[in-house]
Symmetry: C2
Subunit: 219 residues, 2 copies
């Protein structure tokens, strides 16, 4: 059996459980949520470095944020994390939101019903496009990861699908004190999730609460 | 202007925001949620005393739980907190869930479209039945409270109605690490709530997270 874990990190949701708002577009990738779900991350050292900035806190938010890349050999993301829903180039000119050198530095598997040729970016990121079930995508990502862990990068639908398939070992959520009211809700369809996971909560002085769900050993 | 505050205490919700489950009845007042939302409270000194038991923790859960009665002069509760939805006596024999001496020890205003005569219980609790808007009910409760604070006792619908009418000054929620999936959701219709409240979160070793929402000064 593989030791390779399936991990979700720094996944922000509102108090009412929305991981993204309504009305996503090229200009507003998180819809009416704007940057409200991710403000906590922009203050951490890890995210500031990722954006080429100095400074940033080293408290509990950073402690969680920094775990994002450690031991990860591949990422799986949904179509809507890779590209906007509306007002965006849907053709092959679109190469993601992250510029020439995306922060992933590993193979990234994009789940889509409309596969296209792989794109090799600078810095070790290659986008592959797969029309596959979560289990099939995970098999491909694990092979590419060479024994290391696989990160599920979002969005909401993708995380939900992997939870429903019971493929997630480690889920780190960040509950942000806003009530979005509409958008994509993480918890839909997850009734009884707590029976499979040990859940820990720790609140941060920044106002967010970090939730970690650790999959209990499978029988 | 009155200093009398409107407060909600020890209001438990699931991770997905449900304050009660589905299928409420005389035997299952919280539906399929069972006692899962309130297990944290049963371990506190305050609730144990209320149930005639000894012991109980004195940590952060108790610190919050114990604020429940201090300075309160009246409670307002919904019809479904007072009596079960199904399988229960709907006639005048029903005198609440709490036995001859309910733990309120103040006037309690029950919102209902079917008012009935007031019931005086032992220990200072009197149930009054009102067909009234939140603002009207609050006026009646404030008068009965003699300048003290008014507690909104729930259920979910009642708390939501008072939030929507912007009548709540202090809201204490307890987020319990379960995913209920169905029932009555507190956050529905509360988009943007954070613009009116200062929100603080503190996680407890028991696994729950206490959220306090303090109404900002009104203009």
């Amino acid at each position: 059996m593989s030791d390779s874990q399936v991990r979700v990190h720094n996944f922000s949701i509102s108090l009412d459980g929305f991981g993204t708002g309504e009305g996503q577009s090229l200009e507003t990738p998180f819809g009416h949520a704007g940057q409200r779900l991710h403000g906590w991350a922009f203050e951490t050292r890890t995210f500031r470095r990722m954006m080429g900035r100095e400074g940033g806190g080293v408290g509990v938010d950073e402690a969680f944020a920094s775990q994002w890349g450690e031991g990860i050999g591949a990422e799986i993301m949904g179509r809507w994390k890779f590209a906007p829903k509306q007002g965006a180039p849907t053709d092959e000119e679109w190469r993601g939101w992250w510029g020439d050198e995306p922060p992933f530095h590993t193979p990234v598997f994009v789940l889509t019903h409309h596969p296209r040729p792989s794109i090799e970016m600078e810095g070790g990121t290659t986008f592959h496009f797969l029309d596959a079930t979560p289990a099939e995508a995970l098999a491909a990502a694990r092979e590419a990861a060479g024994g290391r862990d696989v990160r599920i990068g979002g969005g909401v639908t993708t995380v939900r699908e992997f939870l429903e398939a019971d493929l997630v070992d480690h889920l780190h959520l960040v509950v942000v004190p806003v009530v979005l009211g509409r958008g994509e809700r993480l918890w839909d369809g997850q009734e009884g999730l707590e029976s499979r996971f040990d859940i820990e909560a720790v609140s941060s002085p920044s106002g967010v609460t970090h939730l970690t769900l650790t999959r209990r050993p499978r029988d």
